[in-house]
Symmetry: C2
Subunit: 142 residues, 2 copies
DNA sequence: TGTAATACCTCTAGTCACTAGAGGTTCAAG
DNA sequence: CTTGAACCTCTAGTGACTAGAGGTATTACA
């Protein structure tokens, strides 16, 4: 049986975050000592590892919870799990693509004025002028 | 003079968000009509474009505000602007690297069980087992 | 057995960057 | 002059925690 601190050390999830997960229903309420302190078994440890890993992969807690509810499921139900992973993969790829765009722009901006600042700074200018992505201002007010 | 709705259309920043920026001091309080509605001039429009662009680049509002305070600054002060942009570039590159790792792992997970679900699903298994990044559990409890 | 340090407990409130809604007022077009 | 869209303020909610206050339990050591 582990204390909450043990669980934290074993999983890398901070103590208040473990309590937070419990409050959100992601971890079941564990047993307590006579002094009211939480004690966790191996199943709880495994479950927290699962949550941590899902979060590391960028899944929102709702998705993690959906996956947890599929534990032990069989057959067609598992398509949900598969779907969540696939959706997340698409999302990650999308984020990478957008960050690449930012990288280019920032690299351009920082290179434009490296060191000598007796003129109007290119960094501020670049921000004011707006970048390549807003050539048509007002479009895509997402 | 633009209404807040005009400003929103021209910059792609939503109306409540514009009021939010004002409340945070990123936009100065504009003039009002006799009926108490906001009216913005060209300077406000430019400033909001600046904010939007900074946010698009992933800067937190605090950094955007720091850059705004440098408007019109000269010489060494501008090193701050340059520094913010460079820090953000490093941050973006870091995020891209980490997302690439996730992409690999997610691609692996989703490919492992594509369609046939008569066995224990690889997606759930992968989450439970933890991924390549936690080969040494408990390390780096960041 | 005493004591001191550390870990634990609950609860509230704060973070960031918005977003949603209620309930009311003003503007612009016809 | 009316109607409907756009505006106003204010409060509260989102996600995923994090920080702090004020108090109790456990544990290691003397």
């Amino acid at each position: 049986m582990h204390s909450i601190g043990d669980l934290s050390r074993l999983t890398g999830v901070k103590v208040p975050t473990i309590r937070f997960y419990e409050s959100k229903g992601l971890l079941p309420e564990p047993g307590r000592t006579t002094g009211n302190q939480r004690r966790y078994d191996a199943a709880a440890l495994k479950r927290l590892h699962f949550i941590r890993h899902g979060r590391d992969l960028g899944l929102p807690l709702a998705d993690v919870q959906a996956l947890l509810s599929l534990e032990g499921a069989k057959g067609p139900d598992l398509n949900r799990a598969h779907e969540i992973a696939k959706r997340q993969l698409a999302d990650v790829r999308d984020r990478i693509a957008r960050l690449r765009g930012l990288e280019l722009e920032l690299a351009h901006i920082t290179k434009a004025c490296d060191g000598h600042h007796d003129h109007v700074c290119a960094v501020l200018q670049a921000f004011t002028d707006c970048g390549p992505r807003c050539a048509n201002p007002g479009a895509d007010p997402d």
